[in-house]
């Protein structure tokens, strides 16, 4: 330490701090925007249990393992679980929220195009966790 000046290290630390500040600020801004749920979003109740997903639409219709929605509309998922913790995930739309017994977590998405996507569980929940999968059908309006 003695005898040499440390300015290169200070510059380096400055760069790292600036970079982290930038990452943090961007993340804050993006997260703030995507957490804002549109007022007209339709509610879908999602329940995870060992080892399948149940969906209940606003009109009371229920689906198991499959979810049908319309392109161009916004949907708000109210996610819970009956037994252990699961995690509701539609990877293609970056939808991810834990399904926790005793709690209701929300997450929303607005599929833009018709298509078929995977639904899966991303939190370890036991024996058939690996196959706690479902399918999302985004249909023409």
């Amino acid at each position: 330490m003695a005898g040499h000046s440390n300015w290169p290290e200070w510059i380096y630390i400055g760069i790292v701090v600036a970079l982290m500040t930038w990452v943090g600020a961007e993340a804050w801004e993006v997260e703030r925007l995507i957490e804002h749920v549109p007022a007209d979003a339709e509610i879908i109740k999602v329940t995870g249990q060992q080892w399948f997903w149940t969906f209940e639409h606003e009109d009371g219709t229920k689906e198991i393992g499959e979810l049908h929605v319309e392109a161009g509309k916004a949907y708000k998922f109210e996610v819970t679980a009956t037994d252990v913790i699961h995690s509701f995930n539609i990877h293609d739309y970056v939808v991810l929220i834990d399904a926790i017994p005793g709690r209701v977590n929300t997450v929303w998405f607005a599929p833009d195009e018709p298509g078929v996507h995977d639904i899966q569980c991303r939190e370890y929940c036991g024996l058939i966790h690996y196959n706690m999968r479902g399918t999302l059908y985004v249909e023409e309006p």
Partner: protein, 508 residues
């Protein structure tokens, strides 16, 4: 520098010894044993995931048990005891004391580990190293789960006893002529990580007891059916285990601080910034635990707080990288085996940290959380940084411990294969995570990208497996038959670059 002399002694004399080099040797051999056991489980996991469909492991439950015991073993029975081995050998010498502060306590802390390891291996629990309730309370099969809980309880106590010993040895037993500012960085790393242990572990110790009473049905702390809250467990767990990741990595960085200057034949660029970064990390490391919990439904404000806390710790890690590079700059570097491992470890440390920043940024974490990305992320630390630093250090201390030289060519082949394998497995797993593959799954649908990535990762794992077989052969052969080492300058870098003190084992 000499740590252990050649005079053969009966094994029981070492086992019942309380001398720091003997306890160090016990830690060393046990931790390496668990490295190979845990590694074998990793190979089984990778073989199973080579293709969709059941391959070599018949059923999901066995698979789940295997990855649980794999993770628990390598973290608690390899990484931590290996660090204790190094600490036992070197910390007393570095503070110029005759032994650890409390030699009997030291031996007790060691002897708690084998029974804990036995509980974990004989039970073979399935609830992941994280033991999340309510699964771990209402669903995980006993007695495996209970044995795991007891095993971890014992390991926690052993860690705390070890940490007390290191703190007292360094602060109270260091030679009076030596100021704390002259204590080598390796010893500083043990001081910092021990202080983290003392603050962090009690929280998890409490959580484990609550988990146990919940399992017995006499309480419902984490059981929603009894009015409890599973997320409370997540907070307690991560309050301990985010800081704990620094407990794992800090001693490995300390080992690199021994290796890098010696083989660069230069003093460390900045001792002061090394000390500062260790202490800073030990403090700021406590402000980030809930970055593991973004997806549990935390509020925007909570997420922001923990993101900022996480990013705030990055400069401290980055300072070490700078220090290493600045030391090697203009150095007369000698790429012996220990140096190769240290430099490779630093490169992987840097890549791992970059991935960590991505996880920390909250919107990005919803892509990476609980996918193979996270598996890749932390393995670049635990394997790429910590195991690399530790193995490099093992090669470094080998001549001092055995009085013989390992085979240099085999050491280098070991490094090259391990490095290639590590890149193949864990960089690929990052990409696999971006494709959405969840972690902890026994089987996966035949999505072409997933199959390709899994195969690359499995091949990488086999390469690491081969390299570890070479390592084992080298260690066993060379400790008995290797060339006698010149313990004044085993690596031919010039005598003045070594640490000057000797251990005095009364049995020699």
């Amino acid at each position: 520098m000499v740590l252990e002399l050649q005079k053969p002694r009966p094994i029981w004399q070492i086992m019942f010894s309380t001398h720091h080099t003997d306890v160090g040797l016990l830690y060393l051999i046990m931790s390496l044993g668990f490295l190979f056991l845990g590694g074998a489980l990793a190979l089984a996991i990778r073989a199973e995931l080579f293709l969709p469909g059941a391959q070599i492991i018949g059923d999901a439950m066995t698979f789940n048990r295997i990855f649980t015991v794999h993770g628990t073993t390598l973290i608690f029975l390899f990484i931590i005891p290996f660090a204790s081995a190094v600490g036992n050998y070197f910390v007393p010498i570095m503070v110029r004391y005759k032994d650890m502060a409390y030699p009997k306590l030291n031996a007790i802390a060691f002897w708690m580990i084998p029974p804990a390891g036995a509980l974990i291996w004989l039970g073979f629990a399935d609830f992941t190293w994280y033991a999340t309730p309510p699964y771990s309370i209402i669903s995980a099969p006993g007695p495996a789960a209970d044995m795991w809980i007891f095993g971890l309880k014992i390991l926690g106590i052993s860690s705390v006893l070890g940490a007390i010993n290191f703190v007292v040895t360094i602060l109270k037993c260091k030679h009076p002529d030596m100021s704390i500012g002259q204590v080598p960085l390796l010893a500083w790393s043990f001081l910092s990580s021990s202080l983290i242990i003392l603050v962090a572990i009690p929280t998890f110790a409490a959580a484990l007891l609550m988990l146990l009473t919940d399992r017995l049905g006499v309480s419902g702390f984490f059981n929603p059916a009894m009015g409890g809250d599973p997320i409370a467990y997540a907070h307690l767990f991560w309050f301990t285990f985010h800081p704990e990741v620094y407990v794992l990595v800090i001693p490995a960085i300390g080992m690199m601080y021994e290796i890098i200057p010696r083989f660069s034949r230069r003093p460390i660029y900045s001792y002061g910034s090394g000390v500062f970064a260790f202490v800073l990390l030990a403090i700021v490391g406590f402000s980030s635990w809930a970055h593991h919990m973004y997806a549990t439904g935390m509020s925007f404000t909570e997420k922001t707080v923990f993101m900022v806390g996480t990013l705030a710790a990055v400069p401290a890690s980055a300072m070490h990288v700078f220090n290493f590079i600045a030391t090697m700059w203009n150095g007369r570097i000698r790429f012996s085996t220990p140096m190769m491992w240290a430099v490779g470890g630093i490169a992987l440390f840097f890549s791992a940290g970059a991935g960590g920043v991505v996880n920390s940024a909250m919107p990005l974490d919803f892509t990476t959380h609980d996918t193979y990305w996270v598996v890749g992320h932390f393995h670049l630390f635990v394997m790429g940084t910590i195991a690399f630093g530790s193995i490099g250090y093992l090669y470094y201390m080998f001549p001092y411990v055995t009085g013989r030289m390992y085979n240099e060519a085999m050491g280098k082949i070991h490094f090259i294969l391990s490095f290639v394998g590590t890149v193949l497995v864990f960089f690929t797993q990052h990409v696999l995570g971006l494709y959405g593959m969840p972690r902890r799954i026994f089987d996966y649908p035949p999505i072409p990208e997933w199959i390709a990535m899994n195969q690359i990762a499995s091949i990488g794992a086999m390469i690491i497996g081969v390299s570890m077989a070479i390592f084992l052969a080298n260690m066993i052969y060379s400790s008995g038959r290797g060339e006698p080492a010149n313990t004044d300058d085993p690596f031919g870098v010039g005598g003045k670059y070594y640490y000057p003190f000797e251990a005095k084992n009364p049995s020699h």
